[in-house]
């Protein structure tokens, strides 16, 4: 029955081929809205991103519960205390979960295929969202087999850094 569906690869929408609503003589009207924003990063995220530019991953520690969170936070989500102690984290960690992205959509940050992972850096008390890469991603079955053997990853830095999250290019298996 799969042939009853048409998958538009660019839009990734599922349409039933042999079902349509009563055909319309009615029109649609195209309007786009594009709005600029300028997000304030504040002292904590400014320092976090400046750290990435230097090739360092910073977290902050809560003085009450002692947890180290990354990306660095101004305050602890649980205790609501200021997190003023800066900690440079190891650039290696364990994969908590991952998925291979194999479809395209508007506003996507990277050309698929790519792997998104939750990576728990050593010493950190939470996981960080980032790419996992450094090997061939074109065949999902090979990716699956490869990922079965991977538990530890290490940050690979971008050649050009702009003090943003993409200064880390991806995490590669160690």
């Amino acid at each position: 029955m799969a042939e009853r569906y048409k998958v538009d690869k660019d839009l990734v929408r599922m349409e039933i081929v042999d079902f349509t609503f009563p055909q319309k003589e009615y029109k649609t009207s195209r309007h786009d809205t594009v709005l600029p924003y300028n997000w304030a990063l504040g002292p904590t995220w400014t320092k976090f991103f400046d750290g990435l530019k230097e090739g360092k991953i910073f977290g902050t520690r809560c003085k009450k519960c002692n947890k180290i969170l990354v990306p660095a936070r101004t305050f602890c989500p649980s205790c609501y205390e200021d997190m003023e102690e800066w900690v440079e984290l190891p650039q290696e960690g364990s994969i908590e979960t991952w998925c291979l992205v194999n479809y395209k959509y508007y506003g996507q940050v990277k050309e698929p295929p790519y792997i998104i992972g939750q990576i728990r850096l050593d010493k950190a008390d939470c996981s960080l969202t980032h790419f996992i890469g450094g090997f061939d991603l074109s065949d999902p079955d090979k990716v699956r087999k490869k990922m079965k053997t991977v538990s530890r990853v290490k940050a690979v830095w971008s050649k050009e850094k702009h003090a943003d999250i993409y200064d880390i290019a991806y995490f590669k298996p160690v």
Partner: protein, 387 residues
Amino acid sequence: MGRAVAVIGTGQTKHGRRDDLSYPDLVREAVKKAFEDAGITPKDVDGVVYGSMPSMMEGVAYNHFYFADALRTVGKPLFRTETCGSTGQSVAHTAIHWVASGMADIVLVVASEKEHEGDAQATMMTILEPFLMVTIGGAPVAFSLQSREWMGYYHIDEDKAREAASIVSVDSHDGGLNNPLAHIRVKLTKEDVSKAPIITYPVRLYDVCPVSDGACAVIFASEEKAKKICKKPAWVKGIGFRGEEYFIGDSSKAVWQSTIEASKEAYKEAGITNPLKELDVAEVYNPFSYQELMFLECLGLCPPGEAPDYVIKGTFSPGGELPCDPSGGVLCCNPIGAAGLIRVAEAALQVTGKAGEHQVEGAKLALSHAMGGAMQFNGITILGSEL
């Protein structure tokens, strides 16, 4: 929870690709049906609650202003409530609080989405700030990550999870075939599902909900009004809602606390101690088949880590101990803002014996559920045939 509250009428559009009418006309289609079902007029309504996805999806800020006429809200108070995918549960809860508190006797609740007018995945990208967690944007990414986290946490065999997810998809699509209003109405086999193109591994095409247009309206009333107006109201037995931290990595999504705690609260209020035994039907929010497996556990319907076993032995299939999503669920129809309210409406239809071809015989107690945000919110509403 204050005064008793009942559902006295529901209305749903034909869901699907609705280029055949404008957005206000789509909203009106559901509102009209709800009024006809309840047998009341807009004059009887004390207030209106509306919700949808964020403005980026709708293309117009505050679309409830645009729909003022279709919502019959002229001359009445109007509330907007939205929590992304769980919006449908949140709008229902807003009305329930309103009636239970005694501030209103009859409240109309409407939720809608016209996804073909915008771009659902592009909207999802705007749910996260654009400089720290944006890489996770796009619904299949976030929920595939969650499914894999769950599989890893309980050491669930990949092939077993695949088989169970395929059963969830096949059962839901069978439900869709029985529901004339569902968007996707096709017969699928387990092989169709397990061999479909990969979207975000391990999630394949038929593990994913469609992009739908649709609206849903539900009318809530106080005990006194419900008994006067309605022969067979669906009584609100319990509700629960919980939120979580913003950063996904801050807490486990495999043992999902917001689902667990929201359902516990709803069960406590409803006096339910063994949900699998006591519930007759569940409308679980299932935009992704793998995610439904995890929900079955977090909703306390089976032991943690054992959802695949229960699904494979048929516990949640048609004719099983607790049939899930007989309407076809979100897998067959996902106008996102409305999807959580459709779950409430379907639960009401089930406990009042009005679900037609997808009626679960003799259903008296039904659970409805939705989740929203980048794994951030969960809402539950339990309806019953008895006060």
